[in-house]
């Protein structure tokens, strides 16, 4: 279990993380979510004991984190990098040994992972010969090779093809089922929604919202309606009960304006189009993210 308690960190005049608290327990996949520059990586670096917090404390299994706890963590940093001139297998065993994991058991584990990720044929090759996707997978193997209790994945899927991405997801879910504590940072909301049991959304170093996915969605209510219809539905987006809408030829995702209920929308469209589906939707995490953070203008692409 990892617990972050009232942690703050500033660099000169810039506050990167401000009074942040959360905890992630074994078997759970915890999502640290936020736009670029929100303070995710700084938070992770403090959890990894690479940076020291200005104030606040980080606990591992109830006790204050020490340097020795580094051995229990597996880390996939956002900015990938492996020593290019080393042979793949040598690099993996060296980094595992730095975590205190040595011997035939570790070697077999690494070989098993290489096999699973289709890199077995490359284990005697230098890292600079690997393609970008292969290097990504190698780095993921490096993070989990020493069988740590706690895993920190910073944007694990960025730049991966769908097949590799699914394979990595499968392994991450397996690790979760095996009781590992998984901390997962991303700014891709669809991924977070699919994988995480709980999330913490941060912006400018502060907590914006946290909780389980249903909890977070619950807070922002069911104010969206999915409407499928036949006929000319152009008028729907202009109805007074609709504040915002995403319109397709036979489908509209409409957000209800304040003071209106879903019934009002249904009444307004009946008779003008033929309704085939009318559903109150939970907003997607993506939408919540954009609503909460987008206003600050901090959201940017990768």
């Amino acid at each position: 279990m990892v617990e972050v308690k009232n942690v703050s960190k500033s660099f000169q005049s810039i506050t990167a993380v401000s009074d942040l608290s959360f905890s992630a327990t074994g078997g759970e996949i915890f999502g640290l979510i936020g736009p670029n520059g929100a303070g995710k990586s700084t938070t992770i670096r403090m959890i990894m004991n690479i940076l020291a917090p200005d104030s606040g404390t980080i606990f591992y299994s109830g006790t204050r984190m020490t340097e020795a706890d580094k051995d229990r963590i597996g880390y996939l940093p956002e900015e990938r990098g492996l020593p290019k001139k080393l042979v793949l297998m040598d690099a993996l065993t060296y980094f595992a040994s730095l975590k205190g994991a040595e011997g035939p058991v570790v070697r077999r584990r690494i070989e098993g992972l290489l096999e699973r990720f289709g890199l077995a044929a490359w284990k005697k090759r230098k890292i600079l010969e690997l393609s970008k996707g292969m290097a990504q997978k190698a780095q993921f193997i490096l993070a989990i090779a020493h069988d740590p209790d706690i895993l920190v994945f910073d944007e694990p899927f960025s730049g991966l093809d769908p097949v590799s991405s699914d394979l990595m997801l499968e392994v991450i879910l397996e690790l979760g089922r095996a009781g590992k504590t998984i901390l997962f940072s991303t700014h891709v909301m669809e991924q977070a929604e699919r994988i995480c049991s709980r999330i913490l959304l941060i912006d400018r170093g502060r907590e914006v919202v946290s909780g389980s996915i249903p909890e977070v969605k619950g807070k922002y209510g069911k104010r969206s309606v999915l409407l499928e219809f036949e006929g000319d539905g152009d008028f729907i987006a202009r109805l007074p009960c609709v504040s915002r809408a995403v319109a397709y030829p036979s489908q509209v995702e409409a957000e209800l304006a304040d003071g209106f209920q879903a019934d009002d929308l249904l009444r307004a469209v009946l008779g003008r189009v033929s309704v085939s589906r009318f559903e109150l939707m939970q907003p997607s995490l993506h939408k919540i993210f954009v609503d909460l953070v987008g206003a600050s203008g901090e959201v940017s692409g990768e």
């Binding site: 690479i50 940076l51 963590i73 880390y75 060296y94 730095l98 975590k99």
Partner: protein, 409 residues
């Protein structure tokens, strides 16, 4: 094994497998041999470097030619008679002869002889010719003037000035062709330290910069402390350097103790196993000082180019003894040499030079070593602080002044 040792072991293996390491390990003794033993070899027997020469001779009578031929026989020069200058020149041009000597008709009273050469650089052959011609012509002139050439030779011989070096340890006089030998040995030792310290320093600097730019450092630091990372690198590469010096000392001992006496190599008096061991100590001192400085600037540099710029002051300090090697060797107890042998950035090399030429009092060596060790301690501490800050900084080119200020954090 703790993490520091794991990093050190890894860095040692990576360094020792590096091509530069292998090349320098081989070049080291060659350089040492070329600079120290070769000049002695050339001076004692110039023909080591040269095969037999053939000289075409034009003119001169039978007596002169026979006398010249016999006096040149043991200098590995053969004479060939040529009828006229044209055919002699042709023999030279075609490579049939090294050169052509034209003997003037009245050779006893001639002021000059002429020698045609393809290159004009066969100094050894030309010297031999000059000696032999003089050795024939001058006694001939003395005889015709009624003087005894042997007597004149004895009377005009200058007394020799024998140079002896007073050995501080034994108090005995050691024969000395010393200055050159000391200069050559000194230059080669200085070069070796300069080469290796620069090589390993830059290797450490580059390795840190590369881990930074390739972002490997993030993973390293998720496993080890910045201190372990930095000292592991320094220790690992230092051990590789020491291995190299151990190989050199072994080769040196073999040459000085076994091969030298058997092959009668002119090993200079300053090239001893003891001095080679001092050389290794000087390397250790200079290495720790410079490598910690290199690690610090490597951590602060944004890329290799930036590292190069930041390392200019270090390279300058490292070059100082090389620039002033001649005055230091000529006058090892001058104030200037004394200063450089205490100033920690230059003391390892300059103290080594002083020890080789005129062993200074033990307290001077101890003081110089103490200053060096204290400076290393301070430098390592500063470097560790700078390293901790610098290793996570990227995207900006900091100046040396800014970087040094990080040590205050």
């Amino acid at each position: 094994m703790n993490k520091l040792m794991r990093v050190a072991k890894h860095e040692f293996l990576v360094t020792a497998a590096n091509k530069a390491f292998v090349v320098i390990t081989i070049i080291g003794p060659l350089l040492l041999g070329a600079v120290t033993i070769l000049p002695g070899l050339l001076a004692s027997d110039p023909r080591t470097m040269q095969g037999k020469a053939r000289i075409a001779v034009v003119g001169g009578d039978e007596n002169f030619r026979n006398a010249l031929s016999s006096s040149l026989a043991d200098r590995h020069i053969d004479l060939v008679d040529e009828a006229d200058l044209a055919s002699a020149k042709e023999a030279v041009a075609s490579g049939g002869a090294t050169g052509a000597l034209v003997v003037p008709p009245d050779w006893t009273n001639a002021k000059t002889f002429r020698f045609y050469s393809r290159t004009g650089t066969e100094i050894v052959t030309i010297d031999a010719l000059r000696d032999a011609i003089g050795g024939l012509v001058v006694p001939d002139r003395l005889k015709s003037a009624g003087l005894d050439p042997v007597l004149v030779g004895e009377l005009t011989a200058r007394p020799d000035l024998e140079i002896a070096r007073l050995d501080a340890v034994t108090g005995e006089k050691a024969p000395e062709s010393a200055f050159l030998a000391a200069l050559f040995t000194g230059i080669s030792f200085t070069m070796l330290i300069y080469m290796t310290v620069l090589l390993y320093g830059q290797m450490i600097g580059r390795s840190v910069v590369m881990e930074k730019t390739s972002k490997t450092v993030e993973i390293m630091l998720s496993s080890v402390t910045p201190g372990d990372l930095m000292f592991g690198k320094i220790l690992g590469m230092g051990c590789a350097g020491l291995l190299q010096y151990a190989i050199w000392i072994a080769v040196g001992a073999l040459v000085i103790g076994v091969i030298g006496p058997v092959a009668k190599l002119p090993v200079p008096a300053t090239l001893t196993v003891g001095n080679l061991i001092f050389l290794a100590f000087a390397f250790i001192g200079a290495f720790f000082l410079y490598s910690s400085a290199y690690a610090a600037i490597g951590s602060a540099a944004d890329d290799e180019h930036h590292l190069g710029q930041l390392s200019y002051p270090l390279i300058l300090c490292l070059m100082l003894p090389l620039l002033f090697i001649s005055p230091i060797i000529m006058n090892p107890s001058s104030g200037f040499a004394l200063f450089l042998s205490f100033f920690p950035m230059t003391s390892p090399i300059v103290m080594l030079l002083r020890i080789m030429i005129e062993p200074p009092p033990a307290w001077e060596i101890a003081l110089s070593a103490a200053i060096l060790v204290a400076t290393i301690a301070v430098m390592v501490k500063l470097a560790a602080k700078i390293f901790r800050v610098g290793i996570l900084m990227s995207g900006k080119r900091f100046s040396l002044g800014e970087i040094v200020r990080w040590a205050r954090y």
